[in-house]
């Protein structure tokens, strides 16, 4: 497949890995921000090809993992008690809420539908004028334009039975939160390529300067990842801290201005709670007051008491890269993909789920 197979070239990956081995002289800890990158590192078996000096730490860029418990409870409440058609991206529905996941709500009779695009949800609203349709709009800057566009479409088509339950989070404030944590030992970042494809790269320059860390905007295929790691290691070894763009075939410095306009039209930046981490100031999007009619939070006056997180789950420390998943006492014991205590064990992009599979492999391979 053109534009993909070139970036899965085994020889090229081997060359970059060799170059990393040549370059590295001491241990470095690098965080890949995006869950998609974590998934690819694990799926392609890249982690065990890196020299031991290069430690990859999995970042908070898993939208499923950081969506607050309370919001999942709200979504379940809307589907179960208010009888709405609740539409969601796929891997959100397996994440445990305080009582149950949306998958369980569905089994109990709630109308929960898995969609690939929020525009489909608008169509469902048009086809079911007597029902309320809510789209569970989670994600980073990458999914924000499509979610915003669904509101614009609904408004244009005069669809009044459609709204979104928005839980949008932003990457740069998350990097700040990681760096501000006194326990953090991250020395460089692979920034999330697809987020930058939308937002551009300008907002990362201040982070590079303030924290004196290399940030390399990186893609998702094996060649992208090993090249991004090499670029970061080179900077670290030279004591440099710059913003570099490995993913230039997709990411333009200015991003996608049209998508940014759509986001700005519907959303405004606000404080946002991150599951496992807490509130990060100005770290997410909420629906602008002009569009409250499409904000499910306001439309349904949902007020669900905040349930306490499992105190056995250390998701926050894992998401900030302070603890590795296997350092959690519950890892693989009280918490497995079948019976997750926290979201990072659920999503295929979650660090715990990724490590659960990977560490099993390691244990067996080294046995």
């Amino acid at each position: 497949m053109k534009y993909i197979s070139e970036y899965r070239d085994a020889d090229l990956v081997a060359q970059y890995l060799e170059e990393i081995r040549h370059t590295v002289t001491r241990p470095w800890t690098i965080m890949e921000v995006c869950g998609g990158q974590t998934h690819s590192l694990v799926k392609n078996g890249i982690l065990n090809l890196l020299p031991p000096e290069v430690q990859m730490v999995h970042g908070p860029g898993c939208p499923v993992c950081v969506t607050p418990l309370n919001l999942i409870d709200k979504a379940a409440y809307l589907a179960e008690e208010k009888g709405v058609i609740l539409c969601s991206y796929g891997d959100m529905i397996r994440v445990p809420g305080s009582k149950r996941s949306l998958l369980e709500s569905k089994a109990r009779g709630a109308d929960v539908r898995i969609l690939y695009s929020p525009l489909e949800a608008v169509k469902i609203a048009q086809e079911n004028p007597d029902r309320e349709v809510v789209f569970f709009a989670v994600g980073f800057e990458t999914t924000a334009p499509a979610n915003a566009l669904s509101v614009i479409h609904a408004q244009r088509a005069g669809v009044s039975n459609y709204s979104i339950l928005a839980s949008h989070v932003l990457v740069p404030p998350a990097i700040e939160a990681v760096m501000n944590d006194p326990d953090s030992n991250i020395q460089g970042f692979l920034a999330a390529g697809h987020v930058c494809a939308i937002m551009g790269i300008d907002e990362y320059y201040p982070l590079v300067d303030r924290y004196k860390i290399p940030i390399v905007v990186t893609g998702f295929e094996p060649v992208d990842l090993v090249q991004g790691i090499l670029m970061t290691v080179r900077q670290l070894e030279k004591g440099e801290h710059q913003l570099e763009n490995q993913y230039s075939r997709v990411v333009k410095p200015e991003g996608n201005p049209e998508a940014q306009k759509v986001i700005q039209r519907i959303f405004t930046i606000a404080d946002r709670e991150w599951r496992g981490i807490g509130v990060i100031p100005m770290s997410g999007y909420e629906v602008r007051p002009e569009y409250v009619a499409y904000d499910a939070n306001i439309k349904f006056k949902v007020n669900i008491e905040k349930a306490a997180e499992s105190n056995e789950c250390i998701a926050g420390l894992v998401l900030k890269g302070i603890k590795k998943p296997q350092e959690c006492p519950q890892f693989g014991r009280g918490c497995t993909p079948q019976m997750p205590l926290g979201a990072p064990m659920v999503s295929s992009e979650g660090a715990c789920a990724a490590y659960y599979h990977f560490s099993q492999a390691m244990a067996e391979l080294e046995a």
């Binding site: 899965r8 799926k43 392609n44 078996g45 065990n48 090809l49 991206y89 489909e120 994600g139 992009e349």
Partner: protein
């Protein structure tokens, strides 16, 4: 496969509850359609069951078919119901002989749709060389079914040279797959999700019994195990194999046959083709010394043109399936948790 048989004149356009009552309407439905179409000496008896003789060790299998949508690119629920059970028998090393055929119809099913399904059943059975010898038709109220559910059970005689058993799988055995993976699941999903791809991806549903029989004829007990990776895909079958044999399974990603359009769809939908369902391929675990010859024979068969050697049985990492990625990495391929859910980004 879409084959035509003229729709006979019925006095009704849709299936009603009465068609499952056992009374006049049931009779009318069966006499004017089903029996004529599937006609053979067993059905002609019009008895409660079929009586027949078979010889030697037998294989017996059953499966229910609930696929939605009932018509999909490359097939429909009818031929799936025949091929599925025929293939299950073939995987036991049997020559499929007789099938039972039971319908649960939902009130309101269009008669022309039912007819199309029946015609496919007839041709699929002919192609596989099996006879449908007994059956049943029930009708449930609207909303209590999903147009049509089918159950088929099948019985077959073991091939005299077959010695298919998990206990015969040993270290060094090679794993061969008979064709491209993930086509059926993606064909169904693309229809269900209303996704349009440049070319319609076709389900691979077909009967594999003739292909398997010729392998058994030539290689006999060197074929240690056969499996068709239907629900849960290749990953599930390999995991079951590793678990039950307590041996390790290694597979090589670069050898996995995958059509480009299916791969593209999987990339787009965020699905791992290893977990996607198949209906027209099988996995064979064979003795290493015959593996090249098995592959060669398969590649000359119309059902094995894309056949490939994808891995081997090893004595390390028992009960685990380890994939050697195309770029030289390794990872464990786990049993899927449930249905694969698309990722957000």
């Amino acid at each position: 496969m879409e084959l035509q048989c003229p729709l006979p004149q019925f006095d009704f356009e849709v299936i009603t509850l009465g068609h499952g009552s056992g009374g006049l309407l049931t009779n009318q439905l069966l006499e004017s359609g089903v029996f004529d179409l599937l006609k053979n000496e067993f059905l002609d008896q019009r008895h409660d069951g079929a009586t027949f003789s078979l010889s030697g060790p037998l294989a017996f299998s059953t499966d229910s078919y609930v696929v939605s949508p009932i018509f999909f690119p490359g097939g429909n629920i009818g031929e799936l119901a025949v091929n599925g059970t025929v293939n299950d028998l073939a995987m036991c090393g049997a020559i499929p002989r007789y099938l039972s055929l039971a319908f649960i119809l939902e009130e309101g099913l269009l008669m022309k749709d039912f007819w199309r399904i029946l015609v496919s059943i007839k041709f699929a059975a002919e192609q596989a060389g099996v006879k449908i010898v007994t059956g049943d038709t029930k009708v449930v109220e609207r909303g209590k079914g999903d147009q049509i559910f089918i159950n088929t059970s099948g019985i077959g005689e073991l091939h005299p040279k077959a010695k298919i058993n998990k206990s015969r799988v040993g270290v060094g055995d090679r794993i061969i797959i008979s064709g491209n993976i993930a086509a059926h699941g993606i064909a169904i999903l693309s229809l269900r999700e209303g996704l349009q791809f440049e070319s319609a991806i076709q389900s691979d549903t077909t009967n594999l019994n003739h292909t398997v029989a010729s392998l058994l004829e030539v290689f006999g007990d060197k074929i240690h195990l056969l499996h068709d990776p239907t629900r849960g895909g290749v990953a599930t079958v390999l995991n079951e194999m590793a678990r039950d044999t307590r041996l390790g399974v290694e597979i090589w990603q670069k050898n996995l046959p995958l059509a480009e359009d299916v791969q593209g769809a999987c990339e787009l939908l965020g699905l791992d083709p290893l977990y996607v369902a198949n209906e027209g391929i099988f996995i064979a675990v064979v003795a290493a010394e015959v593996s090249e010859a098995v592959l060669e024979q398969l590649q000359a068969d119309e059902n094995g043109l894309q056949a490939a050697m994808i891995g081997e049985i090893v004595d390390v990492h028992p009960k685990q399936v380890v994939l050697h990625s195309s770029i030289g990495g390794k990872r464990v391929v786990n049993m899927p948790l449930g249905e694969q859910l698309p990722r957000i980004c």
